[in-house]
Amino acid sequence: MVEKNKLVNRSVNLGSVEKIPLGQGFCFVVGKEEIAVFRPRSGGLFALQNRCPHRNAPLCEGIIDNHHVICPYHARKFEFRTGVGSEKGESVQVYDVCVENGDIVLSKCPDANHVST
């Protein structure tokens, strides 16, 4: 797993999982961080840093399958579990998410005082 930003041990409720259409992603801004949460058709929930490291595209708008998202700008591909990208040296931050009572819960969240690049 790629750990880029400083995370603090605190869970945050992002609201109903129904906000995310099945098979798509949705962007939440948590503190200063944009986090894209994806809901594959095969089940499970994944969260990645929303901005593509290549040219800043919003990954939440990308097409996904059970394991990846494809960036809508230039089609780089990122793995949900590890954040590893299809281009050497490009990866995104991964966040831990799960569903509790129908709500999306982020279990570690970005440090509010930390300003990411």
């Binding site: 605190r10 945050v12 992002l14 609201g15 906000k19 995310i20 259409p21 099945l22 098979g23 798509q24 949705f26 962007c27 939440f28 801004v29 948590v30 503190g31 944009e34 594959p40 058709r41 095969s42 929303n50 040219r55 595209a57 919003p58 939440c60 708008e61 990308g62 097409i63 996904i64 399958d65 059970n66 990846h68 998202v69 494809i70 809508p72 700008y73 089609a75 591909k77 969240c109 970005p110 509010a112």
Partner: protein
């Protein structure tokens, strides 16, 4: 491999298909028996001559067709003298003498160029194999030779033909046999107008009866190749050294810039003759491929065996096995008793298989024919004593492989003769392929056996037909064995694994486009996730989704079950995403004509939503750039103009020029026609975008010649329809599909082309690639002459899509299909929580 422990010295003269093959067979049996030296007059390793047709038509490159690269010779300890012609076998001294050829010397010239001190080599031998092949026959035509006149036999010939064709508009091919037609088809890809001249009264006289010849001729003509039969060329006329025209025994001369002669072949026998071996039409050999000198053998096209000479590779593979058995003493009594011949024409768009006799002159013989004019099918079987003695299949060759086996093995045929043509082809069951003997030849063009294919599947994990082709060349000739190869893969590798770079429509579903469409229809799959479930083992594949969505839409129209997650962001929100994450909105402006009211509305919306840029596009319309995602539905609604589909793979613009309304040159009403086309086909989804234009005269102010579809008015109230044009990253002038009289006809043919493109193009293949791949001749044959009998169906299908078209902006302005899609990011107040928890 060391040469030390090898015993006898073997010299092979000729490094073509036969020479290299027999060496491979020998090495397979006993790699140590001989110390081998080869002479090859051509300056290369060994390549697959039958694929020269593909090199000429651009589907393969010269490197694709090499069988044994130079390293193969080294690895096997073979000394190769490439570019060296053997000129003498000194049977007294037991040496073969060779001399290097200069770059410009023809490898198959009958006369050797004077030695003039050229370097020679002498190689001592214990045994010799002659495999000198044959040379093209040039009929007596006055003025043959010099620039612009070519033969078609070697890689160098191909390169020279291609190079010369660049400067030509017209080409003539003398000879309407198998090779002549393949040459003609190849020349067409170099954008010359091609005429075939056959001396006999019909095409392919060696393989077809008169009726088959007539039908083949219309198929060839439909590709845009002119054909004359019964034409005997007597003279080539030149001016300033350049070819101007051909003169015939009878009839008008033909203007042409170049000539390719392909009028038959003759065995190359000079070296055998000069060495005192018996030569009739070819080098005479017995059933062990031995000449009258017991140490000298021969095989391939240079040989005459039991009075027969052959011009195909099938017999060579059989001869090579026998000769290798004899020479290595694996089976000293092996015998070659002759071959039964079948051929297949490798001309894209013409399916033709022929074997054995073409006419029956025997009162006891039976002739069975089947004819289906609408689909261009003609099939004929000749049967005697319940055995197949000949067959012609034109237009539909599905049963070709089965018939070929029946014919070669002289199997008894069923009393119900129709089973031969219509019985389910039997090769299909897996147990059948498992039970085939290892030695059975699967690819007849490249001589690849079942055992070899199975080994590659196992050892090199080949899991697609194309990979097998790369490893063994099987399936890369005429292609008729691909079905069996696929079955072998299924039988030995379990299943065909997806192989993204190759022929599947999308990488995530292991099917070619036609197979995929068939499976979707048969199983009634209407959503992208259903396809993954039923055809890809439940495995989703992100890159494949958009392509599948587009295909499903064009198959099912309104029955299609739309899943938004399968769409690219632009198609989810019907707008084009920009680099700053805003969107652009391009309303439809039919034929490039707008009105004051529309402009006012556009202006009002632009002001209200503070659109940072309003731009006139290259597609004759107006782009509002920089709109927030959340505002899109409101913008559409307030514009009140349908979507221009500037964001999707669909029919986009139809540009027009001012035409007869205002222009002093206008010959046709280009504005009205453009609007009619655009209203009818707007937004129809397709493998890639379709941009069109109409022009009121050939001055072409709307750039119609370089559009996916361009319609140009010409004198006489007619319209020319061009397809496959491009002026983006690729620039290509469209090909003329047809010329028609009325707007209705324009709409009909444009729709038909669009539908055919939707059904047959690969995902993301623009029409310029598509038209080039299929060929305008084929497009004309299918879409205008209705050779396949599918035009009615195409017309009905496109009509259904037109009828089911709905403007996405209007549909979703009030009630988006997926409201979440138009939401921006949601802010989660984290700081406050931090305080609480902290």
């Amino acid at each position: 491999m060391s040469k030390m422990n090898r015993g006898k010295r073997l010299v092979v003269i000729g490094n073509g298909m036969a020479g290299a093959r027999v060496v491979e067979e020998i090495l397979k049996r006993d790699a140590k028996k001989f110390e081998i030296t080869m002479f090859g007059a051509e300056p290369y390793g060994n390549y697959n001559r039958i694929l020269l047709s593909n090199v000429l038509n651009g589907t393969e490159t010269p490197t694709d067709i090499f069988i044994n690269p130079l390293s193969w010779y080294e690895e096997n300890g073979i000394t190769l003298h490439a570019g060296v012609k053997a000129i003498e076998i000194d049977r007294e001294k037991k040496v073969v003498v060779g001399r290097s050829l200069n770059k410009n010397d023809s490898p198959y010239a009958a006369e050797n160029p004077p030695l003039n001190g050229a370097a020679t080599v002498e190689v001592p031998y214990d045994s010799v194999i002659i495999a000198t092949g044959s040379r093209p026959f040039v009929p007596p035509v006055e003025g043959y030779g010099g620039p612009g006149a070519f033969l078609f036999r070697t890689l160098d010939d191909c390169a020279q033909i291609e190079e010369y064709a660049k400067g030509c508009k017209k080409a003539a091919v003398i000879g309407g046999g198998l090779l002549g037609l393949e040459a003609a088809r190849g020349l067409m890809t170099h954008h010359v107008h091609v005429t075939v001249l056959e001396a006999a009264p019909q095409l392919m006289p060696a393989q077809l009866d008169a009726k088959g010849g007539r039908l083949l001729r219309s198929a060839i003509e439909a590709m845009g190749i002119a054909v004359f039969c019964g034409k005997i060329t007597t003279r080539i006329e030149r001016e300033n050294g350049l070819i101007q025209r051909l003169i015939f025994k009878e009839g008008e001369p033909l203007e042409t810039d170049m000539v390719v002669v392909s009028a038959g072949i003759r065995p190359v026998t000079e070296i055998a003759k000069a060495s005192g071996l018996t030569v009739e039409r070819g080098i005479v050999c017995n059933d062990q491929m031995r000449t009258n000198d017991p140490e000298i053998f021969a095989l391939g096209e240079c040989v005459e065996h039991r009075g027969q000479i052959y011009g195909l590779v099938g017999p060579i593979w059989e001869q090579a096995e026998v000769l290798a058995d004899v020479m290595t003493e694996a089976d000293p009594k092996a015998k070659y008793t002759g071959s039964k011949l079948g051929t297949k024409l490798k001309v894209m768009g013409v399916d033709l298989v022929s074997m054995g006799q073409t006419e029956s002159f025997d009162p006891a013989g039976e002739v069975v024919t089947y004819r289906e004019p609408k689909r261009g099918i003609y099939q004929k079987l000749l049967i005697r004593n319940d055995k197949l003695i000949g067959a012609i299949l034109l237009g539909d060759v599905q049963v070709g492989d089965t018939l070929m086996q029946t014919f070669k093995e002289e199997r008894k045929v069923s009393d119900n003769r129709s089973e031969l043509l219509f019985g389910v082809p039997e090769v299909s069951s897996l147990t059948d392929v498992l039970e085939m003997p290892d030695s059975l030849q699967i690819c007849n063009c490249n001589g690849v056996s079942k055992g070899e294919i199975r080994d590659r599947i196992r050892t090199e994990n080949c899991t697609s037909v194309a990979q097998i082709g790369k490893c063994t060349k099987a399936g890369t000739g005429c292609g008729s064995c691909k079905m069996v190869i696929a079955q072998l893969i299924r039988a030995y590798a379990g299943e065909i694994v997806s192989n993204p770079s190759e022929h599947y429509y999308v990488p995530g579903v292991p099917l070619e486009k036609s197979e995929l469409i068939a499976a979707i229809q048969e199983k009634g799959l209407k959503s992208v996730s259903a396809i993954f479930r039923k055809l890809a083992g439940g495995k989703e594949h992100a890159e494949s989704k958009a392509g599948l969505a587009s295909l499903l839409k064009s198959i099912w129209n309104e029955e299609y079950e739309d899943e938004r997650d399968a769409r690219f962001i632009n198609d989810r929100v019907h707008a084009n995403i920009q680099r700053n994450r805003t969107f652009s909105v391009v309303p439809r402006i039919y034929g490039g004509v707008t009105s004051a009211e529309e402009l006012i509305r556009i202006g009002t919306v632009a002001k209200k939503y503070k659109v940072p840029m309003v731009k006139i596009t290259g597609g004759q319309r107006i782009d509002l750039l920089g709109i927030q995602k959340e505002d899109l539905p409101k913008v559409w609604k307030e514009l009140g103009i349908p979507s221009g589909h500037a964001y999707t793979k669909a029919v986009r613009t139809v540009k027009s020029c001012v035409g007869t309304d205002f222009c002093r040159y206008g010959l046709g009403d280009s504005i009205r026609l453009a609007q009619e086309i655009e209203r009818r086909y707007q937004g129809i989804e397709s493998p890639h975008k379709i941009k069109m234009a109409t022009a009121g005269c050939p001055r072409n102010c709307s750039e119609a010649y370089v559009k996916d579809v361009g319609v140009v008015a010409i004198e006489g109230g007619k319209w020319e329809i061009y397809v496959g044009g491009a002026a983006g990253g690729t620039v290509r002038k469209g090909d003329l599909l047809c010329t028609v009289d009325t707007h209705e006809e324009v709409l009909k043919y444009v729709g038909r082309f669009i539908q055919y493109y939707r059904e047959h193009a690969k995902y993301m293949e623009r029409t310029y690639g598509f038209a080039e791949r299929i060929g305008i001749g084929q497009l004309k044959a299918v879409l205008i002459e209705d050779e396949l009998g599918i035009c009615n169906r195409l017309d009905t299908s496109i009509e259904a899509s037109v009828q089911s078209y709905k403007d996405p902006w209007r549909e979703e302005a009030d009630l988006p299909a997926d409201p979440a899609q138009f939401k921006g990011p949601e802010w989660i107040p984290v700081l406050k929580e931090a305080v609480h928890h902290g």
